[in-house]
């Protein structure tokens, strides 16, 4: 085959137009996953055995099944049983399932962060008379956040990449755009190479930004 340079170059502007939408999907899903993960972690450490058990099952399910299965169950499976779910759009289903999937990982990351604060510092907090609230605000949460930051960054990157699976349910994000460009001209090779490069550049930039933030917030380590 002949590599169609002109078509290859012409793909980029059309693909780059889709970058903000992909980032938007990833950011909304990340924020939702973070809140859900925090809630899960609270449930999982609850003294109520039923609450703890349900959180455990949730985490286990989302960690131990492929993401695409979770998406298909949510988008194609459940609407056959529950009528109201027929009105859920593709992009909403994508965001919700990515968030649910990642929240299980984020819950564990948050736990790791909280556990990273050693007992000695908590005892010192008690010894100077800090209330539980002040202890979390001043000592535990700031240190837990720093400890969890690299893993949270990785979770965010994974989520951006997972948005590509949206093409299987008709969400027009970056990869679907490439598929359509390829399909309309039959230059699949050029289109997919182009989208690969776009993903790569976007994620390298995000990775750099995260590393910069990391050095900034880790200044005390």
């Amino acid at each position: 085959m002949r590599f169609d340079n002109e078509f290859f170059v012409s793909c980029f502007p059309k693909l780059i137009l889709k970058v903000p939408y992909t980032l938007w999907l990833g950011i909304i899903a990340f924020l939702a996953a973070f809140i859900l993960g925090l809630f899960l972690e609270i449930c999982y450490t609850s003294k109520n055995r039923i609450v703890k058990g349900l959180a455990g099952i949730y985490i286990s399910y989302f960690r131990s099944t492929p993401y695409i299965t979770q998406l298909f169950i949510f988008y194609f499976g459940l609407p056959q049983v529950f009528d109201f779910m027929k009105s859920v759009t593709g992009s909403a289903a994508l965001i919700i399932t990515i968030a649910m999937n990642s929240s299980a990982f984020i819950a564990e990351t948050i736990r790791g962060g909280l556990l990273s604060v050693d007992r000695g510092q908590k005892e010192a907090g008690l010894s100077i008379g800090l209330s539980t609230f002040a202890m979390y605000k001043e000592i535990i949460l700031p240190q837990a956040f720093v400890a969890a930051f690299p893993s949270l960054g990785n979770a965010f990157i994974t989520m951006i990449k997972n948005t590509a699976i949206g093409f299987t349910i008709g969400v027009v994000e970056l990869l679907s755009q490439a598929k359509m460009l390829g399909g309309s001209s039959l230059n699949f090779f050029e289109a997919y190479i182009a989208v690969g490069i776009v993903y790569w550049v976007v994620l390298v930039v995000i990775d750099r930004l995260l590393k910069m933030m990391e050095t900034k917030i880790c200044k005390y380590l």
């Binding site: 000695g120 510092q121 005892e123 010192a124 907090g125 008690l126 010894s127 100077i128 008379g129 800090l130 209330s131 002040a134 001043e138 000592i139 700031p142 240190q143 720093v146 200044k219 005390y220 380590l221």
Partner: protein
């Protein structure tokens, strides 16, 4: 100033404190010595309620709590009367030296920032850390971290300071500096001080009174002279002989 009655603490089946009775006056410096694992640290930690005793009464500066029936609020009230210097320093890693010392004043005593900073700098001067006020603990040596620990304990403005083996984790060449700071504090006789230590010469030098703890009780107490020169109990004698 401080009074402890019939204090008991167990960890599972292990009965660590078997009824401690103790009292000290304002400004009194009390050294606690004895074999490892016999409840010295646990005793201090119970006074600060870092460990919760099962039984016993504690009174510091007029605030009384009964271990069997005390509420969170009472525990915090009595906790504010004492502060602790830890074996492993336990400085707050995410705060600078100055912020470590200011925290008890800002978050517990609700002092305004200006006043807290002034007082914190005063404490840091006393422990000789004026050149490190804006450093994070990770950049400090063990001795410097322990100085922060002592300044932070003073910032609580406590009636009683509890020193839990303050030099045991330090490199030998750093021990003298910390002991010197504690010695100076002791000479002020402003605050009551309880010091668990293995530095016998230091204990003899600075203490008004020495307690020998063994088997979860205070086996013997008296002036340093009496304990170190003419202990009554066989076990005290044996312990001191082993150290020679």
């Amino acid at each position: 100033m401080i009074r402890v009655e019939n204090l008991h603490k167990s960890f599972g089946d292990l009965h660590v404190l078997k009824g401690i009775d103790f009292a000290a006056k304002k400004g009194e410096v009390v050294a606690i010595i004895g074999p490892s694992g016999m409840g010295k640290s646990t005793f201090l930690r119970c006074i600060n309620f870092i460990e919760r005793p099962e039984k016993g009464r504690l009174e510091i500066d007029g605030v009384r709590v009964d271990a069997e029936s005390c509420k969170e609020k009472e525990i915090r009230a009595v906790r504010m009367k004492s502060s602790m210097v830890f074996q492993n320093y336990n400085v707050f890693k995410n705060k600078t030296v100055l912020q470590n010392v200011m925290l008890p004043m800002l978050s517990v005593q609700n002092m305004d920032k200006q006043a807290a900073q002034e007082r914190a700098l005063g404490y840091l001067e006393q422990v000789g850390l004026m050149d490190k006020t804006n450093e994070y603990p990770s950049r400090l040596s063990g001795g410097q971290q322990q100085r922060v620990g002592i300044a932070r304990a003073m910032a609580v403005n406590p009636k009683v300071i509890l020193f839990d083996e303050p030099t045991s984790s330090l490199d030998p060449e750093l021990v003298a500096g910390i002991l010197e700071i504690i010695r100076r504090l002791a000479k002020e006789h402003e605050r009551t001080m309880l010091i668990v230590t293995h530095e016998m010469r230091f204990a003899r030098d600075i203490a008004d009174r020495v307690l020998f703890m063994d088997g979860g009780v205070i086996l013997e107490e008296g002036t340093p002279e009496k304990i170190f020169s003419g202990p009554e109990h066989e076990r005290t004698k044996r312990f001191l002989d082993q150290l020679k």
